[in-house]
């Protein structure tokens, strides 16, 4: 089977993380986490600081390399605990793209340059093709008129929307968001949340680490609550928000009050 066939076959199956373990020195960030992420849904990862939610998200994209565990992209588990060949790393990374808390746009490239770089360099698209797609995606995030602006001239919210367009340009199966609105003031955060909600409406697969309960309530199909490197609760948003579990109630109160 070719890579494209494999990918087509995978497209029906969920992404599975199996026994993912990650330690930083003595700190166990992820304690043998198993998680299945369904296609076409929005999964929100919640949890207190240090619960491992960002680390888990980053493991999906191998920005963090697990100490042990397997990732199943849909056609069988791949061991990611030992040494991973560069080819396998590329294969796993090709399925997901991360949107960062600090945007991490390339400051020396315009908005359009940011969105077209990887399609040309990594996917082998022609420049014309990439630019047409790039302009379309910038329009989609409401920034058609900012294509030629450098990041330094954009607001935080605009930068994050460019970053989302940049991720969409890779056409990944999984869009990963690591606290996408945490660096933004509420008004700018709202712009970004609107874009995320629109993407969720299109039945794309979103995995979002956030501190925003409002976002979880509004957009999530499923809420995973992590604590101490383990999944403590995994279910619908209703289940999460109604849970009488003392820990969850306390978390909702603390987070909900800010």
């Amino acid at each position: 089977m070719s890579a494209a066939d494999l990918r087509a076959a995978d497209a029906r199956n969920p992404l599975r993380l199996i026994g993912i373990r990650k330690t930083f020195g003595d700190l166990v960030a992820l304690d043998d986490v198993d998680l299945e992420i369904a296609r076409g849904r929005t999964t929100v990862l919640l949890g207190p600081s240090g619960s491992g939610k960002s680390t888990l998200l980053r493991c999906i994209n191998l920005l963090e390399k697990p100490d042990a565990g397997q990732i199943d992209l849909g056609s069988g588990p791949i061991d990611v605990g030992g040494r991973i060949s560069p080819r396998t790393v590329r294969e796993i990374r090709s399925r997901s793209t991360m949107v960062f808390q600090q945007f991490n746009l390339f400051p020396h490239l315009t908005a359009l340059g940011n969105v077209t770089l990887a399609p040309v360099e990594s996917l082998g698209r022609s420049r014309d093709e990439a630019e047409a797609l790039g302009r379309e995606l910038l329009a989609k995030v409401g920034l058609a008129d900012k294509a030629d602006s450098y990041p330094d001239r954009l607001s935080g919210g605009q930068q994050q929307r460019v970053a989302i367009a940049r991720a969409l340009a890779m056409d990944p199966d999984f869009l990963l968001f690591d606290e996408p609105t945490s660096a933004l003031d509420p008004e700018l955060a709202a712009e970004v949340v609107a874009v995320l909600a629109a993407l969720a409406q299109e039945n794309r697969t979103l995995v979002v680490v956030t501190h925003s309960l409002a976002f979880a309530r509004r957009v999530a199909d499923r809420v995973v609550f992590l604590e101490g490197g383990k999944v403590r609760q995994d279910g619908s948003p209703e289940e999460f928000f109604r849970s009488e579990d003392e820990r969850l109630r306390r978390f909702r109160e603390v987070i909900g009050s800010v």
Partner: protein, 221 residues
């Protein structure tokens, strides 16, 4: 006309000729090589395998840790005893390039280290492979940071070429010495020599400004 002006006008053609024939080509060729050395050494020290890393570190230590004039003597007068005989000009090029390369490699390394980790992570998540992250993400940004220290190194190199008289090259400074010796006007002569160096370095500084503007186009002023 005061005596020193007359001397200046008389000796200027000889001095300029020495600058054009020796000092300037020596500076340009040595710096071009130094740049290549600097980038390679910086990349090895950042990303190379351990033994190469150690080698690159040792190179920087040796060339930063010993005087330039001693290095010139070793290369020109010392190496022939090991069977490596270089003419004075190539010996000067090799020494100046390796000396400046050691300093410049640290500037290049620092410029890469100064990029936020997020830039590398963005390149990773976009699946940019092999040399692409360096070529399209790291180098253009590091360029802006590395320019001022590199200009420093280039300026040091230009002034450092004044030591090559010690290995028989007749550069700007050596011609100045000859004229000063024959006219018994050291003050007037060495002042003129100093002024010529100052003009050359000022031109470099102008070039630096132009380049800095060019690579900073994306930064809001």
């Amino acid at each position: 006309m005061p005596g020193f002006l007359e001397l200046w006008l008389q000796s200027l053609p000889r001095l300029l000729r020495a600058a054009v024939e020796v000092t300037i080509p020596l500076s340009l060729i040595s710096f071009a090589i130094a740049l290549v050395v600097a980038v390679v050494v910086a990349l090895v020290r950042l990303y190379g395998p351990a033994p190469l890393k150690a080698l690159a570190w040792a190179y920087v230590q040796v060339f930063r840790g010993t005087p330039l004039v001693v290095q010139l003597f070793i290369v020109y007068f010392g190496l022939p005893s090991l069977g490596i005989s270089l003419d004075a000009f190539p010996a000067a090029v090799v020494t100046l390039a390796l000396n400046t390369g050691a300093y410049a490699s640290e500037a290049v390394r620092a410029s890469i280290l100064s990029l936020p980790r997020g830039q590398f992570e963005a390149a990773q998540t976009l699946n940019l492979s092999r040399a692409t992250p360096f070529r399209r993400v790291v180098a253009p940004q590091a360029m802006r940071i590395v320019l001022p220290p590199l200009a420093n190194d280039f300026i040091d190199l230009v002034k450092g070429t004044s030591l090559v008289f010690a290995i028989t090259l007749v550069d700007l400074f050596q011609v100045g010495r000859q004229v000063a010796g024959s006219t018994f006007e050291p003050m007037a002569m060495y002042t003129l020599v100093a002024l010529i160096y100052l003009v050359m370095v000022s031109l470099l500084s102008l070039g630096q400004n132009v380049l800095e503007k060019k690579v900073s186009a994306h930064v809001r002023s």
